[in-house]
């Protein structure tokens, strides 16, 4: 990380302010005016639009293995995805994913 201390605090506080304004938005400022359905429809997809794209390169080319595809990490990611999809349970998905990662790292002699 090469930011100055001031830049890091700027990021933190700007993010805090922006997040708060998003949370307050309709509740505080716009009042009772209903949101256009087209906007609501787009907003519904923000989490599944941002997180998968962020994760994909981290899964395929992890920094910890110098950007080389790492079978244990790839397998753990797929298991987490499958369990999260099937159980709809965050903790179950994380637990199974972590267990898979450690089991695979151990089997391949990395642990």
């Amino acid at each position: 990380m090469t930011y100055s201390v001031g830049q890091i605090w700027f990021i933190i506080l700007a993010l805090a302010l922006g997040t708060y304004l998003i949370r307050l938005s309709f509740l505080g400022l716009v009042g009772r005016r209903p949101m256009p359905p087209a906007v609501l429809r787009l907003l519904r997809y923000t989490p599944v639009a941002v997180l998968p794209g962020m994760v994909a390169p981290l899964v395929l080319w992890p920094a910890a293995t110098g950007g080389q595809i790492d079978p244990p990490r790839l397998l753990a990611a797929l298991v987490t995805l499958a369990f999260g999809f099937k159980t709809r349970n965050l903790l179950a998905a994380l637990g199974t994913g972590a267990a898979t990662l450690y089991a695979a790292l151990w089997l391949t002699g990395q642990l």
Partner: protein
């Protein structure tokens, strides 16, 4: 149904919020660990959890900061993760819009996935509740979650440096993100949005850090909304 006071509504909110500690605690510890590992100070790490108070966005910002992305891109990408909360804010207006502004301002600070999801279900059930009970319930749900998020971030930040690299904590972040979005893949539209996000993000990996992701997110949102519209027309 017996009349509920604001006080008893508050305590039933606290009870409904308690199970979420199981999710919040490991998440917050992990953020503390990853943030210190990325090179933030204890004060900066705590600053994130206290003022931003949004798990996924904090992790997203951190990831981009590790990549030394431009500041504007860090902010845009992390705020995009939080845009869903504008939807929560809009959905709460019919229930809480009549509360005094200062109460709505407090509600907004703790307007997160868990408080929103639990409250919407309960407001639907308890049609006898007035706005005072609803506000009390909402803040009740937030009561166990908020301090725990902050305290457990500190725990993670303080113990994190003692965790050896063989534990592969680098991969805690991707696994956490996957665990967060996988349960959201409820409809074909959500699956298409996620697939477009991955495809475009990988295709644009050569762009400056964070920029490809923003384009991918925009394309994925449009793809999801379009599929939803098509499916609705077909069903009609």
């Amino acid at each position: 149904m017996p009349a509920t006071t604001a006080k008893s509504a508050y305590w039933s909110g606290v009870r409904d919020g308690l199970p979420f500690l199981l999710v919040v605690t490991p998440f917050a510890v992990l953020f503390g660990v990853v943030a210190m590992d990325a090179g933030l100070t204890l004060g900066q790490t705590m600053g994130f959890s206290v003022t931003v108070f949004a798990g996924a966005a904090q992790f997203a910002a951190l990831q981009l900061m590790v990549d030394n992305a431009g500041i504007a891109l860090v902010l845009l990408a992390a705020l995009a993760v939080n845009l869903r909360m504008a939807m929560y804010s809009a959905a709460l207006v019919p229930w809480l819009g009549a509360a005094p502004l200062w109460q709505r301002a407090v509600v907004a600070y703790v307007n997160v996935d868990q408080t929103y999801a639990v409250s919407m279900v309960r407001f639907d059930e308890r049609t006898d509740w007035g706005v005072a009970q609803r506000v009390a319930f909402f803040l009740g749900v937030a009561t166990p979650i908020t301090p725990m998020w902050v305290a457990m971030t500190a725990v993670g930040a303080l113990v994190g440096s003692r965790i050896p690299p063989e534990w592969a904590l680098d991969f805690a972040l991707p696994i956490t993100f996957i665990g967060m979005f996988a349960p959201m893949l409820k409809t074909l539209a959500h699956v298409v949005a996620a697939a477009v996000s991955v495809a475009v993000a990988l295709a644009l990996l050569g762009l400056p850090s964070g920029l490809g992701l923003l384009i991918a997110a925009g394309a994925a949102m449009v793809a999801g909304a379009t599929v939803e519209t098509i499916m609705e027309r077909r069903a009609a």
